[in-house]
């Protein structure tokens, strides 16, 4: 079994890890993945995938406009909102701009 590339995974998952965490999680992940490999033993044949568990009773709701949250409510949980906007810090470094 190939070892997982923790650096690559943490980048994909958008989680910054320090060196110590990286080492510990690398060990944990290898153990977990070894454990879940057990599913390779099962003969699945031509089983079709399932899209929903009880699909026979799932109506779609009527396509009509409902009362949305107000802008004030939507922005109530963010830090430093600016007028009607969320604010984030710089996306492009000055070197690249």
């Amino acid at each position: 079994m190939k070892e997982v590339d923790i650096k690559h995974l943490s980048k994909l998952a958008n989680i910054q890890l320090d060196k110590e965490e990286e080492k510990k999680l690398q060990e944990d992940l290898n153990k977990i993945i070894k454990h879940i490999r057990k599913i390779q033993e099962v003969k699945v044949g031509k089983t079709p995938t399932q899209t929903h568990l009880h699909a026979e009773s799932l109506p779609l709701r009527e396509d009509k406009e409902d009362m949305p949250l107000s802008v004030k409510e939507v922005l109530a949980n963010t830090q430093n909102p600016s007028k009607n906007h969320f604010t984030i810090n710089r996306m492009i470094n000055e070197d690249n701009s």
């Binding site: 995974l9 994909l12 998952a13 989680i15 399932q50």
Partner: protein
């Protein structure tokens, strides 16, 4: 220990008032058990003044802190949701409010529901009221402890792989995971969307039936909710007759001998009531845990991608936008959630998806078909709820694989989307243990009828601790 109907009878006779019941319930909160993240006393007093009529009139109810109540913080026991106050209530909350239920508070859980012990919480572990050195089970441990220690008459939890049923087993309560789609999940914070279901923890089957009548049913806000008619769960007429129960042999392996004996006592008692039993086999049982892990971790990695500190929750200072997100998520999540996100990311990555996620999805289909086939020949299955009684706090905190061991008995019902209920099977030493009934889709009424029957004929002395409410 009174039931919902008994309390309401007392209200009518003016022996107690909803306010006095609320005050006595709040007085039963034992901070050392750490069942609550937020106690909503002020909110509850305001709600009481509205004096709403309904099936839950004046009943103190605890809510797992991953279900939104408008205006009350939702933390999911995570630092990543620090300061988040939801601008809307879950549909189940609106339905309970409409029926006069009163919320005592938001209860502790394993962060985002990821655990079987309620130890992996940013707000510290919850303790088992029967023995505070033991876990209460999880992830809805706070909701179970609130009911077991008398600070709520009934509570809501969520069940992705057994999170309502395991704590019910460890705390001597009835815990129901309804059929997938039976109860709206609008306003429940998502963990594993194809598995999550809001469940109920109560002291007896009747209370659970009343709560299910209130919260079940179609909700246009949840596209996975079913429009199948809601049963009159609490109606005593039309109870099932000629019941046949299956005993799946695989569920009785690798469990404590005393747990085995407790469940067999339930079987013997039911046999005396002319219920017949049949041995059945579910050979895919050994693959339930790894299949559950792959699917739930994959869904968790996708669902938890939303926690970026932009729209709500913790925001750490970073050098640029992406650095801010990565730092916020590092500071925000505890190790188990990080592990699951990372494994979930791995099983969904292009090099691994066919071998893991897609394969697990196919095995899930086999597990579901196996349950459906077996349930054609019997009304439901009787199994143990957990392989042991509650385990010591700290024993498995950092061992992801060992923590999943009890899931072998419960996660199958989530993978197959079928209902399952856990109820008390007696005591082993000073700790309670539960039995489990797993049923056909939308057959909650029959399952709860059998639990009622066991309550009537149980061969063991009823053991629930008396609370100050009498």
């Amino acid at each position: 220990m009174k039931t919902i109907l008994e309390y309401q009878e007392q209200f009518k006779k003016q022996e107690i008032t909803p306010l006095s019941l609320l005050e006595r319930s709040l007085a039963n909160i034992n901070p050392s058990l750490n069942a609550y993240i937020t106690v909503t006393e002020e909110f509850a007093r305001k709600e009481l003044k509205k004096d709403k009529e309904g099936k839950l009139k004046g009943i103190p109810i605890a809510i797992k802190d991953n279900i939104n109540i408008k205006g009350i913080p939702t933390t999911c026991a995570s630092n990543v949701l620090k300061g988040f106050v939801p601008p809307f209530s879950a549909t189940v909350i609106e339905r309970i409010e409409k029926n006069g239920g009163i919320f005592t508070g938001k209860t502790n859980l394993d962060e985002f529901g990821m655990g079987s012990s309620t130890e992996r919480s940013f707000y510290g572990p919850t303790k088992n009221p029967f023995d505070p050195t033991k876990v209460p089970g999880g992830s809805s441990g706070g909701s179970a402890v609130a009911v077991a220690s008398g600070s709520a008459v009934i509570s809501l939890g969520s069940d992705t792989g057994g999170s309502v049923r395991q704590p019910a087993s460890y705390c001597g309560l009835v815990g129901l995971k309804p059929t997938y789609g039976r109860v709206s999940r609008y306003g429940l914070v998502a963990f594993g969307s194809s598995l999550d279901q809001i469940g109920i923890i109560g002291r007896n089957a009747e209370d659970v039936e009343i709560m299910l009548e209130v919260i079940a049913g179609y909700d246009p806000k949840d596209s996975t909710s079913s429009d199948k008619e809601v049963d009159d769960y609490h109606n005593l007429e039309k109870r099932p007759k000629n019941i046949k129960i299956g005993i799946p042999e695989e569920y009785f392996k690798q469990i404590d001998s005393e747990v085995y004996s407790s469940v067999m006592e339930i079987k013997k008692a039911l046999e005396k009531e002319n219920i017949t039993f049949k041995s059945v086999s579910l050979p895919t049982t050994n693959y339930i845990i790894p299949t559950y892990q792959v699917i739930s971790y994959a869904e968790a990695s996708s669902n938890l991608a939303r926690y970026d500190g932009v729209r709500y929750g913790l925001r750490e200072k970073g050098e640029d936008f992406h650095d801010t997100i990565r730092k916020s998520r590092d500071k925000g999540f505890l190790p188990e959630v990080k592990r699951r996100i990372l494994v979930g990311t791995f099983v969904l990555s292009s090099e691994a998806i066919a071998e893991y996620y897609e394969r697990a999805d196919l095995i899930r289909r086999l597990i579901t078909e196996e349950f459906n086939e077996v349930l054609k020949g019997v009304d439901c299955l009787l199994t143990p709820a957990t392989p042991t009684t509650a385990f010591p706090i700290g024993e498995r905190t950092d061992d992801s694989i060992r923590m999943h061991v009890p899931d072998r008995l419960t996660a199958g019902a989530n993978l197959a989307g079928i209902p399952a209920v856990v109820a008390p099977a007696g005591m082993i030493g000073k700790l309670p243990i539960g039995y489990q009934l797993i049923g056909r889709p939308f057959d909650e009424k029959n399952l709860l009828s059998i639990v009622r029957l066991v309550e009537k004929i149980a061969p063991f002395k009823w053991f629930l601790k008396e609370d100050k409410n009498g």
